[in-house]
Symmetry: C2
């Protein structure tokens, strides 16, 4: 399994990914899933991948090959993030079409999905989720984060903390914690964690890191988070077992439960 996420806020873009892949619990490996195709000063293009490794690796190879051979289009000559999302989606379609019948015969899952984030000169920064079928959606101010892979364990944290106004440095911390929560609940997601922080309009990647197994910062945030959660329970008001039965249904507050 895999867990990658992207967060786009007013001030910047954060992309993060774990590095664990597995073909069953008895064959676990480490592969990087976060890739940087930026040209400093001109464009920032980041891709994170999940799903069938042979498909995503072939897609990345083709993207690189197009750049090297100067094919038109490629990641370095397209003029909008939207066009890049469509181009990457098309590559994924081509590769799957080529292998589909062979993989389907043995019920092997050939699905994959990608996150694409970045900024081109004279364009706003954007973040996309490209589905296995090659279509894609974009993050918005209302929904500033997108996830692929094992998305559920790490989502409650994002739901409660991330808005479009969150400073990107805080969003980066939140991304790490979201991956850490996922690693704790699902051992098929694992380190090293790759993290990139991009400040809008800087047109270059100045903040990236790889947190390996046992990285002191990762240990520190996990411990810090656990103690905060425990503290929170101690501070939580006790349940009043006798006086809750009659709590009124208040339609006006209904959206509290679905917002």
């Amino acid at each position: 399994m895999t867990y990658c996420l992207g967060i786009i806020t007013e001030s910047g873009l954060v992309m993060a990914a774990d590095s664990r892949t597995n073909a069953g619990v008895d064959y676990v490996s480490t592969y990087r899933k976060l890739f940087d195709f930026s040209i400093a000063g001109d464009r920032v293009i980041l891709l994170a991948t999940s799903g069938n490794l042979s498909v995503t690796q072939e897609a990345l190879s083709m993207l690189e090959k197009d750049i090297k051979t100067g094919s038109d289009p490629n990641l370095h000559n397209l003029t909008s993030m939207y066009e890049i999302a469509a181009y990457v989606g098309k590559k994924v379609r081509q590769i799957q079409e080529q292998h589909r019948q062979w993989l389907e015969k043995d019920q092997i899952d050939y699905q994959c999905s990608l996150l694409l984030g970045g900024q081109l000169q004279d364009e706003a920064p954007e973040l996309y989720l490209i589905y296995s079928q090659g279509n894609f959606i974009q993050a918005t101010q209302e929904t500033p984060f997108l996830q692929i892979g094992e998305t559920k364990y790490g989502k409650p944290l994002l739901d409660r903390t991330i808005t479009y106004q969150t400073p990107w440095r805080a969003a980066a911390k939140c991304a790490l914690l979201s991956i850490d929560s996922t690693m704790k609940s699902n051992i098929s997601v694992g380190p090293p964690i790759n993290l990139i922080g991009y400040e809008h309009n800087s047109f270059q990647i100045n903040h990236q890191l790889t947190l390996k197994l046992g990285a002191p910062y990762l240990v520190k945030i996990r411990k810090s988070w656990e103690s905060v959660v425990k503290e929170a329970f101690d501070r939580m008001p006790d349940i009043d077992w006798d006086h809750h039965q009659e709590a009124a249904i208040d339609e006006a507050t209904e959206n509290m439960f679905v917002d």
Copy 2:
């Protein structure tokens, strides 16, 4: 969707369930999913259900009918929780067998699963998860909680807070928060929340409540939790982007990531 959980600790047993069912997003209803078959002073038997509603309702009807008609076995004359788990599993198998071919024709999911918790005289309190196939597993001191339905959103919280030593009253708060986290991330899980707390060896249910839409306590714990999470981020040490690259892989700390 549904989310139910059971927690068994040194001092007591907690069972909790949401009440939302849906047949697609355009047909949402409210059904109770937590049921009490206890006989005060003699035995405590609690069941929580998830999955196909027609199957779980029929299972409950059959369990009630067996008690009323004095059939042997029934929930009130079996002499161990283990036997009760096997008996409930057998009922589920019978019902599914009866309907399977009709539901399969239209690709309707007839799966269901149940949580069974309680205590019989001269027995230790126990908690079981009964699978759709009728087999079952038991919670242990190492794994003191079991979940059914939409389990992932609410698990990180449990992983970080619940141990066998957790007082049952604290476990009850944690169960509510776990359901609340799930409701926030998945609107197919919704109130009222039913919650039962059982103190071991009391042989009767003294603590139960239904938290309806807008119940003040639910609003209070959600707000309190959100502010704690936000505070936690402010207190979290900042990322030192320049000095993490070299973090050593320390095999001795590897288990920190999989424990």
